[in-house]
Amino acid sequence: MQRYIKNMSMLSAEENKLIRTKKIVVVGCGGIGGYIIEFLARLGVGHLTVIDKDVFEESNLNRQLLSEPSVLGKSKVEVAKERIAVVNPDVTAVPVQTKLDRFNGVDILKGHDLVIDALDNRDSRVDLQIVAEEVGIPMIHGAIAGWFGQVSTIFPGDRTLDLIYRYCSEGEEKSLGNPSFTPALIASIQVSEALKVMIGRGELLRKKLLVIDTLVQSYEVIPLH
């Protein structure tokens, strides 16, 4: 298929076919989530379930790819579904306008191959880690704060967030804000991790945390227990 011809050198024909069969949940359709949805749709992942309870607000316009003045007040997941249809009609998009938590999470995640964390707070991420473990699927974690960002790939049982989110409740993004470029950077790395999980090839950020500081362009992989 001509659409995927530029994928062909880095992915085999079988791998290209394989990702067309995969079902991914993206939790959060904001800063990070907008880019993740765009990248996964263009990559040709077969099915995307997109979760977010919110509508677009003016403060989203500085960084959220799916936002523009004409969609303010509109459901983020509906805009995401429309964008996926525009970018790649081959992809099945299922919008779910809700807040994923410990109670509804299993029903939402079951039947999918992996989940991508594009959330914006600690508590929801900890819930997502619990639910992903219960369903038995990998979770690709990503977060940003100002110039900084982090990524980790978490398999059931790893509980990586227990190490980095145990003691704090509020992140530095509250004081630093979030610019236009760190969401795209972190989303790109998360999608590369998701692709490697799907095709079973490459080295994952499992039991490791990639910590990025774009102010000094440092990319440190921190080993974790």
């Binding site: 959330l119 960002g149 980095i164 003691y167 509020e170 992140g171 530095e172 921190i222 974790l224 227990h225």
Partner: protein, 79 residues
């Protein structure tokens, strides 16, 4: 004894000129995690992720040993 230290993100600036080329700082035997933070003048009450030998450690009285690796970086959870 020598402690290997990595200060990242907001904490990077606290390490300027204080960490040797091989990434270590000298501390007396019996020093604690609090002493490591004090060495760099890092405010003790500043929210942070603290890892000692790949594991989280928020007990500032935790004694560090020669060769231990301490990593300090920001608590990041935006999206």
């Amino acid at each position: 004894m020598n402690i290997k230290v990595k200060l990242l993100t907001t904490f990077k600036k606290y390490g300027e000129g204080k960490i040797s080329e091989n990434g270590t700082i000298p501390l007396p035997k019996g020093s604690t995690l609090r002493d490591v933070l004090k060495y760099f003048d890092i405010p003790l009450d500043m929210p942070k992720v603290l890892l000692v030998n790949k594991d989280d450690q928020q007990n500032l009285d935790h004694e560090v040993n020669d060769g231990d690796e301490v990593v300090v970086f920001s608590f990041i959870c935006g999206g």
